[in-house]
């Protein structure tokens, strides 16, 4: 028999708010965190806007002076979010060695610590002759080769000695990390896991790569209205950075320590499109299959589903396919279920996105308020469901689903419920 898994701590670093309070009040108010890019000169690019974390102060968020110096930005986001989550759970620095032996870290990233590598590569390109060994040793940060840095750094910060892994499944990475963590606790391999995602990839090279694909919004003169999933005028996703980390805990252990339980995670499913590296089938068929699969795992019917936090990336074909998949999977119920996109406010933070959306979904269950999809101005006939346009809405939400799709074709979905919902059934 599988063990039950609950969420007892939340940490978020998003461009419209750091920490669950600021993030959630911004989301409910429909506040966008998208601005003009400041991290480099973006003027040669077609897309010059992004969701940057402004005024990120790692030390104020619990990082040691050493961590502030040695870690790349994305890793710092992950450690900061994990610190917030442990503090929120009330067990920061409070676990015994045995408990820490049974505590793990699963993090999702899509691009990870690109900034430092890009900087070094450009530095070396500009040199006429190879720097000396001594100079090289100083130029290269020790963490540059460590693509697993975000997970290891979180484990080190909390001295967690259980399983520690990065899952790099593109835009679904965060949800996949949470899903893998869920399974590990369910199966009794570990008691608690800090799970989520992080990415900090707003660099000249990364932006160039997405711009050439025509994948990113060019609404440079109006950044806050650029991410507009389901709206007829959407023209691509808005690049963002950030991190979301949740503390997943075995339910009996959480109950025993009288922890505040936000929600119970009851299902994780995942599949792959097998269609194209950057686009999904227009009929939404793989997503339809995934939605049915995850409801089956969860043992619920579409009629029981109260809310969907969608992938909603503001990409023209994505939202049309998504809408078709909802209708095909949920039938008439698709028109009843409120759907909202967190990306409308914070853009697409790659591997972090689905983890931040999991945090938003948990907060929806906690506060019984659905945050809006902002920038809904011009109706798109191919997107004719209830996307909770522009204004937050109080609602009874017992059962919520969040899903994501990404580069390479991986789709993942999680089903979360109110802490006491299962026992009331």
């Amino acid at each position: 028999m599988f063990r039950r898994v609950v969420i007892t701590g939340l940490g978020v670093v998003a461009c419209n708010g750091i920490g669950k309070e600021d993030f959630w009040s911004a989301c409910v108010a429909g506040r966008s965190g998208i601005r003009g890019i400041t991290r480099f000169d973006a003027s040669p690019l077609s897309s010059q806007i992004a969701g940057e974390i402004a005024n990120f102060d790692p030390e104020a968020l619990g990082l040691t002076p050493e961590e502030c110096v040695n870690m790349d930005r994305g890793t710092q986001f992950a450690v900061a979010a994990s610190h917030l989550a442990m503090k929120d759970a009330g067990i920061l620095d409070a676990l015994s060695e045995e408990e820490r032996n049974n505590s793990g870290v699963y993090m999702g990233t899509a691009i990870a610590s690109m900034e430092n590598g890009e900087k070094l590569l450009v530095q070396l390109m500009g040199q006429d002759k190879q720097p000396s060994s001594d100079e090289m040793s100083h130029m290269i940060p020790a963490s540059l080769r460590m693509t697993n840095a975000p997970a290891c750094a979180v484990a080190t910060h909390h001295q967690f000695h259980g399983p520690c892994t990065i899952i790099a499944t593109g835009c679904s990475a965060g949800a996949d990390a949470i899903g893998q963590a869920f399974w590990a606790i369910q199966e009794g391999r570990t008691d608690r896991i800090l799970a989520g995602g992080t990415d900090s990839a707003i660099t000249y090279a990364v932006m160039s790569v997405f711009c050439v694909l025509g994948a990113t919004s060019t609404r440079n003169d109006d950044p806050q209205r650029a991410s507009r999933p389901y709206d007829k005028d959407r023209d691509g996703f808005v690049m963002a950075e950030g991190a979301g980390v949740l503390l997943l805990e075995e339910r009996d252990l959480a109950l025993a320590r009288h922890a505040h339980i936000y929600a119970e995670l009851i299902a994780f499913s995942s599949n792959i499109n097998a269609h194209h590296m950057t686009s999904l089938p227009t009929d939404g068929e793989p997503l339809r299959q995934l939605l049915l699969q995850v409801l089956d795992e969860a043992g619920i019917t579409p009629a029981q589903l109260d809310y969907i936090n969608s992938h909603g990336s503001s990409t023209p074909p994505n939202e049309a396919a998504e809408t078709k998949a909802y209708k095909a999977a949920f039938g008439e119920q698709a028109h009843r279920i409120p759907i909202s996109s967190t990306k409308s406010m914070i853009g697409h933070s790659q591997g972090a996105a689905s983890a931040i959306e999991a945090v938003a979904t948990v907060l929806t269950l906690e506060h019984q308020v659905i945050h809006p999809t902002i920038n809904q101005e011009l109706a798109d006939p191919s997107c004719d469901l209830d996307y909770v346009p522009n204004v937050a809405r109080p609602a009874t939400v017992n059962v919520a689903l969040t899903h994501s799709s990404g580069f390479g074709g991986v789709n993942s979905a999680l089903v979360l419920v109110r802490p006491d919902w299962i026992d009331r059934q």
Partner: protein, 413 residues
């Protein structure tokens, strides 16, 4: 579709590309005869680098496996993936067209992404401008490209993941896929690891930050030797077909072995190479042994991580003494990887492929280059020549920067 009782997971097909052999048979032939594939780097001039030898694959032609258009749109790491999947599927005798695509998955570990492709593109962006970048960069570069491309080519629609865990990522991938089949999330998972870091820029970074031995001596990767000074880097890929045991039996597949245990722990010691303390690594060994229900006398050999740096080697020996106590004298250990170099995410999978072939051929593959074994480690190291193997199981260990310790247990069915 979670199953109430855990299903058994077997390996029915293998594919390998390494510096000392392309294809699992050539690989075993070399590895069981102590033949090294370490040579001076040929793909570019390494004169300005602190190291000039590597486990480079020189005779591999991607065009032999995939069409030219796809060769140009994918990185070398993915070329290795296509080639090894093709071999592993053939070896397993499985016709994917007859499988339910939603029950077939892929778990392919990788550490650095498609470096050759992306570095050239970044240089173009900075030298010529953003408009000159290839539209295929994003899909060739990210680690997820490997499962994305594999799913498209083979029509795989099920559980697919991309674990990334420094030098232990490959074993981690095998562990994740094993657990997914165990719980019923898939029936068949193409599982492996690939790495292609032998480019001037990544080699520069690794030469200065990773535990690599410097210089041009092809015999300088010598774990547990008094002169140990680091590992030799390599490229390559290993691929295994993991299958639910009942599924394999029903289709009459021949079975190399079963994955019976997996243990993962973390030293949590920051951005450092594997440490001199084996405390957590010993816990990984015990977790894998317990899950597998194995005793020391069941183990034919322990395939060690052998990073060939003093602290890491001492930590590995410490872990073995903690986990096996005085039995460690009777436990043969080996680092066959000394013949092919360390290919990061591919390494653990290649060690597993070696182990499965060792069980099949009843021979323990040797460690080379360790002429001055440090007796202080107290290890029963198989050196230079194979030894007979009669026991049913092999343990495979892997450690990585950041403190990862992984142990996988495989056993004859």
């Amino acid at each position: 579709m979670a199953h109430k009782t855990k299903r058994r997971v077997v390996i029915t097909g293998l594919g390998a590309i390494t510096a000392n052999g392309i294809g699992k048979d050539a690989f075993w032939e070399a590895i069981s005869n102590g033949i090294s594939g370490i040579k001076p780097i040929q793909r570019f001039s390494a004169d300005n680098l602190p190291l000039q030898v590597a486990g480079e694959i020189n005779t591999f032609l991607a065009n032999d496996y995939i069409e030219r258009k796809l060769v140009n749109r994918t990185d070398r790491m993915t070329h290795f993936v296509f080639a090894t999947i093709q071999e592993a599927l053939q070896d397993a005798g499985i016709a994917l067209a007859q499988e339910n695509p939603q029950r077939v998955g892929a778990v392919i570990a990788n550490t650095f992404g498609g470096l050759e492709y992306v570095i050239e593109q970044i240089q173009t962006i900075y030298a010529r401008g953003p408009r000159f970048v290839s539209a295929y960069t994003a899909i060739a570069w990210l680690q997820v490209a490997n499962i994305g491309q594999a799913s498209i080519r083979y029509g795989i629609q099920g559980y697919c993941k991309t674990p990334l865990n420094d030098t232990a990522g490959g074993l981690d991938g095998l562990g994740i896929a094993y657990q997914a089949i165990q719980r019923g999330a898939a029936d068949v998972i193409i599982t492996g690891g690939c790495e292609a870091p032998l480019q001037p820029f990544p080699l520069t970074v690794l030469a200065y930050t990773a535990p690599c031995v410097k210089g041009d001596d092809p015999n300088s990767y010598r774990p547990f030797d008094r002169r140990a000074a680091g590992l030799i880097l390599a490229e390559g890929a290993g691929m295994c077909i993991l299958e639910d045991y009942e599924h394999a039996r029903q289709r009459g597949a021949s079975i190399y072995g079963e994955i019976v245990g997996y243990g993962q722990t973390n030293d949590a010691n920051g951005f450092t190479p594997p440490s001199s303390s084996g405390k957590q690594y010993a816990r990984s060994m015990c977790l894998a042994m317990q899950e597998a229900g194995l005793r020391t006398q069941d183990i034919g050999y322990f395939s060690l991580d052998g990073q060939a740096m003093l602290p890491s080697d001492a930590g590995e020996a410490d872990a073995l003494h903690r986990a096996f106590s005085t039995d460690v004298e009777d436990l043969p250990v080996s680092v066959p990887r000394t013949m092919i170099g360390h290919s990061y995410a591919a390494a653990g999978v290649l060690d597993t492929i070696t182990a499965l072939q060792a069980l099949q051929h009843r021979a323990i593959p040797p460690t080379i280059n360790c002429e001055e074994l440090d007796p202080g480690y107290g290890l029963n190291l198989v050196r230079d020549e194979t030894r007979p193997l009669s026991q049913p199981a092999v343990l495979i260990g892997g450690r990585g920067a950041g403190g990862i310790n992984v142990v996988l247990a495989v056993k004859k069915v």
